[in-house]
């Protein structure tokens, strides 16, 4: 071995007589410093000179120890220089250091926890006050001390979303990142799913949004679980209706109405959504349930009137709409609808509560109205393709029976009523596609046509 005496593992050399190699030569040989010091800059030279001095000093110390050992004066120290013994000593030192760092770590983590909690509580105050910029900063500060704290992240995401919704935030990116991270940790968290659903819906990712909404509906909520789930479902239905997924919306609404309590406001809200989903049967039923608890609920009356109108149940619609207008005469929409309803009722020759003479008169009027519509709409007088080849055009049909369509003619030929009304309905349908939505009597006739589609 040509290393430094007293520093070698190999041969327990420290018990043999120390070598007589001069220290300076050993250091130079061992380090190569003589070759490198010359090229050092000021700082480097100081650095290496210091290192060299320590190096030399340790060599001297070893030599002295070796001499003492050789003289047999240091038996105890001899044992302590045995590597296993030293290893045991190091182990003890490491254990002590470990305990020390544990204590330090507790103090460190406790301090960080306290700082995090302090910033978080400030953030919560600002979040409640809708002071979103301050809340964002405070929750960011809280997260400096507890980066993975679930609540801090969720609150920061809420604050960021608040900021964005208030028009001050740049994008959903950061909030979304936090929420996705939280979702990965707790996929069943209701609020996280709901917020993710809102973000994805906002970004036009409907499929993702619907998935998150469903998860939110079935999720675990920390408090007021039933109401939170219901609200999430309401948002889901709203989204479904916005993207015209009416069938899915209706299914969700049915589930919602089954679980809904007897709260009239809730019933009315569900009914309105059924109405938007064009499920008028369920809408009418829901409005009726709402009216059971408060028969003077004007919006429920108006809604029920609208649902009944859409179902073609015009007498019922008239009843509800009249009641609604009695409570709120300024309800223009209901007033318009009532007007149309009454026009339909006054135009419909198939009503059961009218006499034959009245029916014949109404049929003649309908025929005249349809004729006027044909003319005003300028329907071409050509043959039209039909199941049996080219058929006469509506103008020709109208002209062909015009002479027969009188009150007397209808009395003579009871079957003529159906022929007349069939032609009237076809004219109104055709002209509505050709010339746009009808008004007045034409609208009434079209609605009557639609209400009779099922029966025909």
């Amino acid at each position: 071995m040509d290393g430094i005496p007293g520093k070698s593992w190999e041969g327990w050399e420290f018990v043999s007589p120390p070598e007589t190699i001069p220290i300076h030569s050993k250091v130079a040989a061992g380090t190569g410093l003589s070759a490198t010091l010359g090229g050092c800059g000021l700082n480097s030279a100081r650095t290496f000179r210091d290192s060299m001095n320590e190096f030399i000093a340790s060599g001297i110390e070893s030599d002295i120890e070796n001499e003492e050992m050789a003289a047999g004066r240091l038996n105890l120290r001899y044992y302590f220089r045995q590597q296993p013994v030293m290893l045991a000593v190091v182990l003890v030192l490491v254990v002590i250091a470990f305990l020390f760092v544990t204590a330090l770590s507790h103090a460190y983590h406790a301090q960080r926890e306290a700082l995090g909690a302090r910033w978080s509580s400030r953030g919560l105050v600002d979040l409640k006050a809708k002071n979103f910029p301050a809340a964002v900063t405070e929750f960011r500060s809280a997260l400096l001390y507890s980066r993975d704290d679930y609540d801090y992240q969720l609150n920061l995401a809420e604050a960021l979303l608040g900021l964005k919704r208030a028009g001050a935030g740049s994008s959903y990116g950061e909030a979304s990142a936090y929420l996705i991270n939280l979702w990965d940790r707790e996929p069943e968290n209701g609020l996280v799913n709901l917020e993710l659903a809102r973000i994805t819906a906002q970004q036009g990712e409907t499929t993702e949004a619907i998935r998150y909404y469903h998860d939110a509906v079935n999720a675990v909520w920390p408090a007021d679980q039933e109401n939170m789930r219901r609200d999430a479902r309401f948002e889901l239905i709203d989204l479904l209706l916005r993207v015209n997924e009416k069938a899915q919306a209706q299914a969700e609404l049915i589930a919602l109405s089954e679980n809904a309590a007897s709260d009239p406001a809730l019933r009315e809200r569900i009914a309105a959504l059924f109405d938007r989903a064009q499920d008028y049967d369920h809408a009418l039923a829901a409005y009726r349930l709402a009216l059971r608890s408060d028969e003077h609920n004007e919006s429920a009356l108006a809604g029920a009137g609208h649902a009944a109108f859409e179902l073609g149940r015009y007498p019922l619609a008239q009843h509800y709409l009249r009641s609604a207008l009695a409570l709120d005469p300024n309800d223009q929409a209901s007033a318009e609808l009532l007007k149309t309803t009454e026009l339909v009722l006054n135009t419909d020759p198939f009503r059961e509560d009218i006499s034959t003479a009245q029916r014949d008169r109404l049929a003649v009027e309908a025929f005249t109205t349809a004729g006027d519509r044909l003319q005003s709409c300028a329907v071409p007088k050509t043959q039209v393709p039909g199941p049996a080849g080219l058929e006469p055009g509506l103008n020709d049909e109208w002209d062909s029976i015009k002479s027969r369509v009188t009150e007397a003619g209808l009395r003579r030929d009871p079957d003529l009523l159906n022929v007349v009304m069939d032609l009237v309905f076809r004219i109104e349908r055709h002209t509505s596609t050709l010339c746009g939505a009808p008004t007045g009597k034409d609208l009434a006739l079209l609605l009557i046509a639609k209400s009779h589609e099922g029966s025909n």
Partner: protein
């Protein structure tokens, strides 16, 4: 020095007296149980644990320094932003100049110096000094990172332990890298990257003995670090993805930009560091403070993100919280801030700033790409991660580590293709424009000549085929008679002739020996039966040329044979061939 441990008698003598019995027993027992390599492995675990504990304390110290110097909030007051790094700079300068001169810089080169110059010796005072000054610097907002100081603290602790354990010189030399790996692994929370970095940049070679110790220490330190600080990575990693293969073009562009940024960064250091060091000595008291002041001004003007290691901002960049314009500005400002801190001699590391710059550049390129082709672009996190690897490859010039670092940090192997593409571009551009790696430049600026790992990797290795020459003389057949062999030998120019033996092997014979055999009446005997059993060693063409040196002094010519057919001679090599080739190689 002789080695008594190797002798069989083992009755050690102390000044001529037999050693006391119990000591012999202890020695015998320990020698039986603990061979040095086993002991070294156990010691590596202790080094890992100690380094882990030290790094944990170092992290605490940095955080506490930040809390008390800069404040507790995410938004910091301008007065503190200016004063903290400035005043800390003054204190650091005083400490470094008067107490801890060896703590300047990052610590990687000091560890290499310990390995190659000081036989593994790093003063323990260096660890203490590095701990205090680097914690103060990073905590006060200087643009430096904790990884390189952790590496040096680990190396210093390991060196101290090694000295106390009286390891052999060879082991002592290796102990600093073992500690360095432990320190770096704990600081990075990435044992694989730490091991690779130490092997790639400090030790420069792979052997089972070194690898075992380095891995053990790295793993031990990471376990300790996670015990106290949790296993979370330095930043939250969102989902990373490569959306389409065409996106690789964007990653190639990122590699080019990263390579250029690396060159700008390292050129700045190379140019400014000697100038700062050449300034009058009294200015060294103020250089870190001036750097701190300038960094504080940058922070007050709107970019506090450049202060400190900046991991929290890497995290934010990954989560798309900055616009691409701001990300690009941050990358540029971080280069300036890190240059200021580093060239002023403030102790601290360059790993974290490198990662910061890379992440910002990557996320900026991702942002531009997203603006231009939103459907084709992956998440900003993917670009930021790749960007980190790019700067690591381009600036630190550790290509292997750069790839594995990204994989280890992201935990996602699907990112490997973009990382490889981008890192390759960055590395090649950096090497092309800045031929000497930054650590080597720094070493040479300090007047040292440590081996350059990059140069070693790139060095041409001479092989036997570069020196061998075809055999002009006939090859004798061992199956033939001496008379036939002599007839063939007479046509040869050389006195030494190769003999092909059966079933395999080669021998040498001289013409004189053949003549003697013939004169002894063995003309009709087969040559093979008369030659000694000891065969001539042979080489293959792909053997390193230095392998030939083992034989050419003992044999006048050594056969070079095919690996596919051991009886097929490719050529021969002589001592002269080898020396000639080395001479030509040396002359370039």
């Amino acid at each position: 020095m002789n080695s008594p441990a190797n002798s069989a008698s083992d009755v050690l003598v102390v000044n001529g007296q037999p050693e006391p019995e119990p000591e012999i027993a202890v020695r015998g027992l320990t020698r039986t149980i603990l061979r040095e390599e086993h002991f070294f492995l156990i010691l590596s675990v202790f080094i890992g644990i100690s380094s882990g504990l030290a790094v944990v304390c170092f992290r605490f110290a940095i955080d506490w320094a930040r809390l008390y110097l800069l404040g507790t909030g995410a938004v910091l007051s301008p007065i503190r932003l200016i004063l903290a790094p400035t005043l800390a700079g003054l204190v650091i300068a005083f400490l470094v100049i008067h107490f801890f001169p060896a703590t300047r810089g990052s610590g990687v080169n000091q560890t290499k110096a310990a390995l190659y110059i000081f036989n593994g010796h790093i003063p323990f005072r260096t660890a203490i000094g590095k701990f205090i000054t680097a914690a103060l610097a990073i905590g006060s907002g200087h643009s430096l990172g904790p990884e390189d100081p952790s590496l040096q603290i680990g190396a210093s602790l390991a060196s101290a332990l090694g000295r106390k354990m009286r390891l052999s010189r060879d082991r002592m030399r290796l102990i600093a890298p073992v500690g360095a790996a432990a320190g770096l692994a704990a600081a990075f929370n990435a044992p694989i990257s730490a091991v690779l970095f130490v092997i790639e940049e400090v030790i420069g070679r792979w052997t089972a003995g070194i690898l075992g110790s380095v891995v053990l220490s790295a793993v031990s330190s990471v376990v300790v670090m996670r015990w106290f600080l949790g296993s979370e990575s330095l930043f939250r990693i969102p989902a990373v993805e490569l959306k389409r293969p065409s996106e690789l073009l964007a990653y190639a562009i990122l590699g080019v930009i990263g390579g250029l940024a690396s060159v700008a960064f390292s050129s700045g250091i190379v140019a400014l560091r000697p100038r700062c060091k050449a300034l009058p000595r009294w200015t060294q008291y103020f250089q870190p403070a001036i750097a701190g002041l300038l960094i504080g001004i940058i922070a007050v003007l709107g970019a506090p993100q450049v202060m400190g290691a900046g991991y929290e901002y890497i995290d934010q960049a990954m989560h798309g919280q900055f616009t691409w314009e701001f990300l690009a500005i941050l990358a540029g400002l971080k280069i300036i801030a890190t240059l200021l801190s580093f060239v002023s001699g403030t102790p601290g590391g360059m790993f974290a700033p490198t990662l910061f710059i890379g992440a910002m550049l990557g996320a900026a390129v991702g942002g531009v790409q997203h603006t231009l082709l939103p459907q084709l672009t992956g998440s900003p996190a993917t670009y930021a991660l790749v960007g980190m690897g790019v700067l690591f490859a381009g600036f630190l010039r550790a290509p292997m580590t750069s790839v594995f670092m990204v994989l280890e940090v992201s935990g996602n192997y699907s990112i490997i293709v973009p990382v490889l593409v981008a890192n390759t571009f960055a590395y090649l551009i950096s090497r092309g424009l800045q031929p000497i790696a930054i650590f080597d430049v720094l070493t040479r600026q300090d007047g040292l000549e440590l081996p350059s790992m990059e140069e070693q990797r790139e060095e041409d290795v001479l092989q036997v085929e570069d020196a061998m020459h075809p055999l002009e003389d006939p090859v004798l057949d061992g199956e033939k008679t001496v008379e036939q062999a002599l007839r063939d030998a007479e046509r040869a120019k050389s006195d030494h002739l190769l003999v092909k033996r059966s079933p395999s092997g080669w021998s040498l014979v001289t013409k004189e020996e053949l003549r003697t055999l013939a004169a002894d009446g063995k003309r009709d005997t087969s040559l093979g039966s008369l030659l000694p059993i000891l065969y001539v060693p042979f080489l293959h063409p792909d053997h390193p040329l230095e392998t030939a040196l083992r034989y050419v002094d003992r044999y006048p010519l050594v056969p070079v044979i095919s690996r596919a057919d051991f009886r097929q001679l490719e050529g021969v090599i002589t001592e002269r061939d080898v020396l000639e080739r080395y001479r030509e190689f040396g002359e370039g």
